[in-house]
């Protein structure tokens, strides 16, 4: 007799297939990387099979002796990133300057949570940079307002087929491309096997469903008095939607129909029974069972990392880079803390993000895109097109799109998976297989100008309203759904 019901298996299979088809779209046949074969084994088989010369390739777009000037803002490393990534960012700008010695580059790094606000403000004063690298949910907002130039991979020497179709969707507005993906990632489920064992759970078996996450979290809290799941519900923080949306989609909910193969964003689903069930799961952990950190309402993932390392949180959702972050934090610890941290690192496990009750598995298809601005919104009123394209080409090259995503993400340019550095990365970055395995389950955020407000404010507000008891779960979901309707209708406070 089968362990799982046949109907459930079919639904699960159909959903995964639909998602995979959605991600791979019609361009799959022309792609240099065969996404239809995507698996950890396939990724390993192509790693290190090609060599690329970035200077030569970008030199064909912008001559290497070109003299010009470039202003560039990007989402840089922050406190939650590993030191390894800091070094790669440093290396990137050194390499760019060495390759294009006559381009006067003025770069500015901003954190994820500050970049959108600062960029919006600069644009209002026509004081933006020539080139900007934004989080994946930001591009459409600015493209729809006419701030960005049309820009496709072909403009900088690459092919559209060399990028994830889901990522290309995130730079499209009204059928035109306005940017090039630099990196794309999906997170994974992380747990502490030692805590599982002490709580009487199978240390090598993570929760398979979100309902099990709720159960495991309660078991761990009741037996050990520590937090089970590292819930994050802070407002105005990108970490919150990245952790709640997989849960929402897994239960069959959504803001709109963004998890469907061909979303239209026509119907708001935040108050659907499925969405309410997902919110109820968070409520059950925070209010009913009190099995997650009380500080979840003010915490970001960077706050959860030391809690996890201190053995005070058993499960969380994050990047593969969190393993390197743990190593960095452990190196700074002293005395007994160092030993505790080592125990946690030794027992750190990565797995697929749990499914919903009917087998849906989903994760945010995250990442960043690079864009060139229209001259009228740039400080000085001019864009050095050649210098801008040199930067876009350089960052989205197989080499640098891989290196800049070394620990926490994946190359936007799929050819990055074929490089020698990918081979090296597979050996050095623990648990990379798990996160690359999650890529086909990735769901892009809705490609709407209102998405940043929905994800960074309305979704966290909904969580906070429910978790603080300011509203019931149903009221919080209805309130959020109404806010989304208002926002997309151009109104609302």
């Amino acid at each position: 007799m089968s362990k799982y019901p046949l109907g459930r298996a079919l639904v699960r299979g159909a959903f995964v297939s639909a998602l995979a088809v959605s991600m791979m779209s019609t361009t799959v046949l022309g792609q240099s990387v065969d996404l239809s074969q995507w698996s950890p084994e396939y990724v390993r088989s192509i790693a290190g099979t090609e060599t690329y010369n970035t200077a030569e390739q970008c030199g064909a777009v912008t001559p290497l002796d070109y003299e010009g000037k470039l202003t560039f803002w990007y989402q840089g490393v922050f406190e939650g990133d590993p030191d390894l990534l800091r070094q790669y960012y440093k290396d990137f700008f050194e390499a760019f300057r060495a390759t294009y010695p006559n381009i006067d580059l003025q770069e500015q790094a901003l954190t994820y949570n500050d970049l959108l606000d600062k960029f919006r403000t600069a644009l209002l004063g026509n004081a933006g940079p020539m080139v900007v690298r934004l989080q994946i949910l930001g591009g459409v907002e600015f493209a729809s307002k006419g701030y960005l130039q049309e820009l496709s991979p072909e403009d900088v020497g690459w092919k559209t087929e060399d990028f994830w179709p889901g990522a290309m969707k995130s730079v499209m507005w009204e059928g035109k491309a306005y940017g090039v993906p630099t990196n794309n990632e999906t997170m994974a489920f992380i747990w502490n096997a030692d805590i599982f064992e002490r709580a009487g759970l199978d240390p090598e078996r993570p929760p398979a469903t979100w309902d099990e996450v709720v159960e495991y979290s309660k078991t761990i809290h009741d037996k050990l008095g520590i937090a089970g799941y590292g819930l994050v519900a802070r407002k105005n923080a990108g970490n919150t939607p990245y952790r709640f949306m997989p849960q929402l989609w897994a239960y069959g909910g959504g803001v709109f129909d963004e998890a469907d193969p061909n979303p239209t964003y026509g119907e708001v689903r935040l108050d659907s029974p499925e969405s309410i069930r997902a919110l109820q799961a968070s409520y059950d952990m925070y209010v009913r069972d009190q099995s997650v950190p009380v500080s979840a309402l003010t915490n970001q993932q960077a706050d959860n990392q030391p809690l996890f390392l201190g053995g005070q949180v058993a499960m969380m959702i994050s990047h593969p880079s969190d393993y390197n972050v743990m190593l960095d934090l452990q190196a700074k610890a002293t005395g007994a803390d160092k030993e505790t941290a080592q125990t946690v690192i030794d027992n750190m496990r990565y797995g697929l993000i749990p499914t919903g009750p009917d087998g849906r598995r989903a994760v945010v298809f995250g990442g960043s895109n690079i864009h060139i601005l229209n001259p009228e919104y740039v400080e000085g009123g001019e864009v050095d097109e050649a210098a801008a394209k040199a930067m876009v080409c350089f960052w989205t090259s197989p080499e640098w799109s891989l290196k800049m995503a070394y620990a926490g993400s994946n190359p936007g340019n799929l050819n990055g998976f074929k490089t020698e550095w990918m081979k090296e990365r597979l050996e050095n970055i623990k648990f990379l297989d798990v996160t690359t395995s999650m890529l086909p389950y990735g769901v892009p955020f809705p490609t709407l100008p209102e998405t940043p407000e929905i994800m960074n404010i309305i979704i966290p507000d909904m969580l906070q309203n429910a978790l603080t008891g300011a509203m019931t779960v149903e009221e919080a979901a209805a309130d959020a759904a109404q806010k989304v309707r208002d926002v997309t209708d151009g109104g609302g406070l």
Partner: protein, 319 residues
Amino acid sequence: MTTITGQLSAAPEHIARRPNLLRQMWMSRADYLYVLPAIVVMLVVIAYPIYYTIDLSFFKTPPGLQLRDKIFIGTENYSAILSSSVFWKVTLNTVIWTLASTLIAFVLGFGAALALHRDFAGRAILRAVLIIPWVISAVAASYIWKWIYHSDFGVLGAVMVQLGFLDRQPNFIDNVNSVLPSLIVVNIWREFPFAMIMLMAGLQTVPEQLLRAAKVDGASTWQRFWHVTFPHLRGVSTVTILLLAVANFNSFIIPWIMTGGGPSNASHIWITHIYELAFGRQRWGVAAAYSVLLFIIMMVLGYFYVRALSGNESKEHGA
């Protein structure tokens, strides 16, 4: 009759004053030229933004449109704000935040100033220590306090549990009821040294001979404070309270960094809400309307501040 006569007799005086004023201005034209650059700068950096904010408050600015494509909607933003439950919640938070922070910081500062006015060993060190919260960066202080209050591993909660005051870690900033008072404590801690410094300066102006005379006349410590010291501090107290009130109405760093206005808007005050509306949600028109309302309140406070300052000056000169 008397009134009419008065008016008739006053009118020619009024009419006669106008040419005098213009003539005086003309005769002082060089003075006006000296201050002209400053006036131009003020117009550019203050008057124009005020005009633009008022103008913007009558427009709708949807996220999908550039600001230049804004849609005129008359006073809809104002009516939307005033009919919004969030507005009243945020306003109540702002009033509580401002009144509690201002009054408690003033009282604590007053007490500290009186204590430090006396001469005792270690006074200079204590004075320097008490000034630290005021000179420390508000951003750094906010992060430190966030960890002190941390609902799972905060130092303050741990100490309370260790000392047996509580059974479990208290929830300071992740609770809708306790978050605002918790932030107010941080704000008071930051601001009371300012009140202390202002009042210590004021205490220097209390004439020693008056205090001695009152003592000779048999006045008690309280009577000397109430009838001699306090009247001399009335002016500086008014100014201090007004400055604190203005600063608190405009507070941003502490609530924004520590809670982002949450949970569930429980620590949103006007400035944080305006910031979120404008920069997080691109509701520039609504944010501008909020700002206009705040501007009116600030102007009222500013009027009292100027009046207080003028009162002090006239007293000084009149005496």
